[in-house]
């Protein structure tokens, strides 16, 4: 398991620049006709903004920087830099530069994998950053492709909400992440991109993350009566239905039914009174 290359805001040095040129070289000398098998196009605009040197440099300024290193690079990756994994090499991203420029204190962590840029943000100004990414004339991330979550039970904040953005005009992709603790309510993205409405309902349904300000925070795939959130890592995978399946009466939100094989009345569902007061959850 290789460690992921994490680049914090100011933790930049020459090595990052070096890996960028390495990666360019690997791509350049590869056979052209077969195309990129992984389906990742190289980012087109603004060749290599050296994010390490100064975050505020406009993208087109230093295109000459990687060039001098290029001739020497082909020999170096196997020998000099065994850790330079081309998959985790940093790639230039105009969006990341702009986020760093305007919201430098909001970026927690930046990850690169297979030419994808993933930025983990703090929750406080997330909606502001989303609006900026959507409306900025140079970025225009107007298309929210996907929203999902990942459950990491061992972390202090166990949930990661992941947003996959795409810009139809500039053909760029950008992944954003927010951390969410148990019971914490991250802001809804549905005010910025209406498509997030159903995605967030699905995340709520399968992970139990409620989104603050969401217009309709109800289950979407499971029935409204379902108790539990199946995509959590602690959701039981084995056992008989009566061991863990429960249904909640959504009209009163006070009764929880468990399955009892011996009971014929009510199709085997046995009522147990439980004061939750939560409803629909």
């Amino acid at each position: 398991m290789r460690p992921r290359l994490l680049v914090k805001k100011s933790a930049s040095d020459g090595r990052n620049g070096q890996t960028v040129t390495d990666e360019n070289d690997i791509k350049g000398e590869g056979p052209a006709p077969p195309g990129d098998a992984s389906g990742t196009p190289q980012p087109r605009p603004a060749p290599a903004p050296e994010k390490s040197a100064a975050p505020k440099t406009p993208p087109p300024a230093p295109p000459a920087a990687p060039k001098p290193a290029a001739p020497a690079a082909p020999a170096s990756p196997p020998a000099a830099a065994p850790k330079a994994n081309p998959l985790t090499a940093p790639v230039p991203s105009a969006a990341l530069d702009k986020i760093r420029e305007k919201f430098s204190d909001q970026v927690i962590e930046v990850t690169y994998y297979a030419s994808e840029v993933t930025v983990k943000l703090k929750q406080e100004r997330a909606e502001e950053i989303w609006r900026f990414l959507r409306d900025d004339p140079g970025l225009r991330f107007d298309y929210l492709s996907n929203v999902t979550a990942v459950h990491w039970p061992e972390r202090p904040k166990p949930f990661e909400v992941v947003y996959h953005l795409f810009s139809i005009s500039t053909r760029q992709r950008l992944n954003l992440k927010l951390d969410a603790g148990e019971g914490e309510q991250p802001p809804t993205a549905s005010r910025v991109w209406p498509t997030a409405n159903w995605h967030e309902r699905e995340v709520f349904d399968l992970f139990g993350i409620r989104f603050h300000g969401h217009p309709d925070m109800t289950r979407i795939l499971m029935t409204d009566e379902w108790v539990g959130h199946p995509l959590r890592k602690d959701y039981p995978l084995e056992g008989k239905p009566e061991d863990h399946i429960q249904l909640r009466d959504v009209t009163t939100a006070e009764h929880v039914y468990t399955y009892d094989k011996s009971s014929i009345k009510g199709f085997g569902w046995k009522k147990e009174v439980e004061k939750t007061g939560e409803g629909r959850g």
């Binding site: 398991m1 290789r2 992921r4 590869g30 006709p33 077969p34 195309g35 990129d36 098998a37 992984s38 389906g39 990742t40 196009p41 994994n85 081309p86 998959l87 985790t88 990850t111 994998y113 297979a114 994808e116 993933t118 107007d142 298309y143 929210l144 492709s145 996907n146 999902t148 990942v150 459950h151 992941v162 996959h164 139809i168 053909r171 992709r173 992944n175 991109w193 209406p194 498509t195 409405n197 159903w198 995605h199 699905e202 399968l206 289950r219 979407i220 795939l221 499971m222 029935t223 199946p230 995509l231 959701y235 995978l237």
Partner: protein, 354 residues
């Protein structure tokens, strides 16, 4: 005195026009639709959870079932995502055969759509014509991999095996006869007055709404947005083929119909180019027997017949993904249904779903 009040009525979960199980709660004002609330999840099978406990090779058969009328597109996207995670290069011959298969699948899927869509709107003849041609494609798939619906035809790193002898000639035969067959459907529908009356101006979706609601595929392009993953972010050597992306003007059901018809022609173009330039060589890259990608996460998208199909894999080591997410285009496209239906009649809902 007459009373006027809005009424809720259920359409589905079992309704002949939904082709599957979809429940729509229609909020009616007379016969006009005031609002629609789609209720989904009847076919939720927990594939994402299942994938967390299977090795990468074992997940591929599951992806067949994501969309059982366009299984090859799902196979292609899934294999592409894992290959991206592993940093694999696929042999050019395998890439070209994948493109041929995916485009045949697109035609087959569009044919199924066209037949059932026309059937729902009362044009029964088209259904028999389209299934005649779809059968030819299914025969080609059967000759290639032995299955007719859930193919499991690709492998991580390429294909299971090369195409059988004579298969390319049969594909060439199909794309030679197909344009004249497509003209038969067009003769039945494109200038048919009933068809025009049922589809033109129905279910209009503006370009802004289409983008904001995250729709993709023919639904998005029907609204005039030029976004096709094959062009925008080419995968599996789609950048080496010459084809056009049809774009609509009004965003109504008729535009979406025209776009799918044109896409079938463009698919034929792509298949012809791929057959002409089909490279020789291996069809599978060197892949270890036990696939253990490095830790990382990727989001890979492909253009399935229905739109942008995304695959998000989080891998933290070992043989199984830590988290697998399938972004299905229909789930998102369905979210635009209320916008398209408002102010229309109940009968139009059938045309809009199609």
């Amino acid at each position: 005195m007459f009373r006027t009040e809005e009424m809720d009525i259920n359409m589905g979960p079992q309704h002949p026009s939904t082709h599957g199980v979809l429940r729509l709660i229609l909020n009616l004002d007379g016969e006009e639709i005031a609002d629609v609330r789609p209720v989904i999840g009847y076919l939720h099978r927990g594939v994402e959870k299942l994938s967390e406990h299977r090795t990468y090779a074992m997940i591929e058969p599951l992806t067949d079932r994501l969309d059982y009328v366009a299984a090859i597109s799902e196979n292609l996207g899934y294999c592409g995502a894992v290959e991206k995670l592993m940093g694999l290069q696929i042999p050019p011959r395998a890439q070209y055969i994948r493109v041929i298969l995916a485009e045949l699948q697109r035609i087959a899927s569009h044919l199924l759509w066209l037949g059932t869509h026309a059937l729902d709107l009362g044009a029964m003849t088209v259904f028999f014509y389209t299934f005649r041609e779809r059968e030819l494609i299914l025969d080609l798939f059967e000759q290639f991999c032995g299955a007719r619906l859930t193919y499991n035809s690709m492998r991580i790193g390429g294909l299971y095996e090369d195409v059988p002898a004579g298969w390319t000639d049969r594909v060439r035969h199909f794309i030679t006869i197909f344009p004249s067959r497509e003209k038969e459907y067009e003769d039945l529908l494109t200038v048919n007055r009933i068809w025009l009356g049922r589809t033109q101006g129905v279910g209009i979706l503006s370009a802004e709404d289409a983008i904001a609601l995250g729709t993709s595929g023919p639904t998005l392009r029907g609204s005039g947005v030029d976004y096709d993953v094959r062009k925008a972010q080419p995968y599996s050597s789609y950048d080496q083929f010459d084809f056009d992306v049809p774009v609509g003007t009004k965003g109504d059901t008729y535009d979406r119909y025209r776009i799918r018809m044109e896409e079938m022609r463009q698919s034929c173009r792509i298949i012809r180019q791929a057959l002409d330039r089909l490279p020789e060589g291996e069809v599978r890259a060197k892949v270890p027997k036990y696939i253990k990608p490095p830790a990382g996460e990727v989001y890979h998208v492909v253009e399935s017949p229905r739109g942008e199909q995304g695959f998000y894999i989080v891998h933290k080591g070992g043989e199984m993904p830590y988290r697998m997410r399938f972004r299905s285009p229909s789930f998102v496209n369905l979210q635009a249904l209320p916008t398209m239906c408002r102010g229309r009649l109940i009968a139009d809902v059938v045309a809009i779903i199609g």
